[in-house]
């Protein structure tokens, strides 16, 4: 297949002709534009400013808006209990803590047995020069 012949063959295929009846209407609409009038009817290109914001997927945005409305409705319909009331229902913290500490101390006492109240104090170290101490050890 000769490339030039193929391209020339394509070129010879006539494209569809412009419908003659469009001329009058298109020129009439264009004439209205010169008078400052908006074109009527078939112009689907004019879009409100917010259209571009929602353009990528208007269905998804609408769905998200509905979901937020449902969440807001549920939130308003079921008021939560105030936190201060929950705290007031509890016994005082300090009493609970002291009771728990006391129990823990008793349990530790049972596990470890009786302990001397005071440990034997360490023997006082003999004061003196370091060399004297070493000779005492050697003599012993």
């Amino acid at each position: 297949m000769n490339p030039d012949d193929f391209e020339k063959f394509l070129q010879r295929q006539p494209v569809k002709a412009l419908p003659k009846e469009w001329r009058a209407e298109i020129l009439a609409q264009a004439g209205k534009a010169t008078d400052g009038q908006a074109p009527a009817g078939t112009d689907r290109n004019a879009q409100p400013w917010w259209h571009d914001l929602l353009w990528p997927c208007p269905e998804a945005w609408a769905g998200l808006a509905c979901l937020w409305l449902v969440i807001l409705g549920i939130s308003l319909a079921t008021p939560a209990a105030p936190p201060s009331r929950v705290i007031a229902d509890l016994p005082p913290n300090s009493e609970l803590i002291w009771k728990a500490l006391k129990e823990e101390r008793e349990l530790m006492a049972e596990l470890t047995g009786p302990q001397p109240l005071h440990a034997e104090p360490p023997k006082p170290r003999k004061q003196g020069p370091f060399s004297q101490g070493r000779s005492d050890t050697a003599m012993a």
Partner: protein
């Protein structure tokens, strides 16, 4: 403000090739009509658009191209694959006088619809408008080398796809 006679002259001179180009791009006659109307509405409302324009044809093709790209982007929000749909929609060519001619034109229209939009625009302007790559480049706002390479890619695809039908027609007595 352009006179109505000036606008009519612009229409008679440029509307037929703009129609063919827009139809090739949108593959839909109703959209083509809307876009053509939008172009002439803008020209009527803002005649200064043509002030200082060297090539009116290239300027109008650029305008048509930009409008149709916008339209297709908007439409693509509703149609997942516009190019696939394009292959099944409006034919681009006049009806043939013989069944072979008719079959080939239908196949050519489908093959054009299967091309990527940027290649289709270049092929259309080169083959059926007879524009040079420089004018096409100016109209589509792309480098001339890019226009030429898109054309070559597109012609290779068309040749590959239409080879059997083309050879049948060429081999007929």
């Amino acid at each position: 403000m352009p006179s109505s006679i000036h606008l009519e002259r612009l229409y008679d001179e440029h509307a037929p090739p703009l129609f063919a180009f827009l139809l090739s791009h949108t593959r839909n006659e109703a959209d083509t009509r809307d876009l053509l109307q939008e172009i002439f509405r803008k020209l009527a409302a803002r005649p200064e658009l043509l002030d200082g324009v060297v090539s009116v044809r290239a300027f109008l093709i650029r305008m048509a191209h930009n409008l149709s790209v916008d339209l297709i982007r908007r439409r693509s929000t509703r149609q997942e694959n516009y190019d696939q749909l394009a292959g099944d929609s409006t034919g681009l060519f006049a009806p043939g006088s013989s069944p072979d001619e008719q079959t080939f034109r239908k196949a050519l229209s489908d093959a054009m619809g299967a091309l990527p939009e940027d290649q289709r625009a270049v092929v259309h302007l080169k083959l059926w408008e007879g524009l040079t790559f420089e004018t096409i480049a100016e109209a589509l706002e792309i480098p001339a080398n890019t226009a030429a390479s898109r054309y070559r890619y597109a012609i290779d695809k068309l040749r590959e796809r239409l080879r059997p039908l083309y050879e049948d027609i060429q081999n007929e007595p």
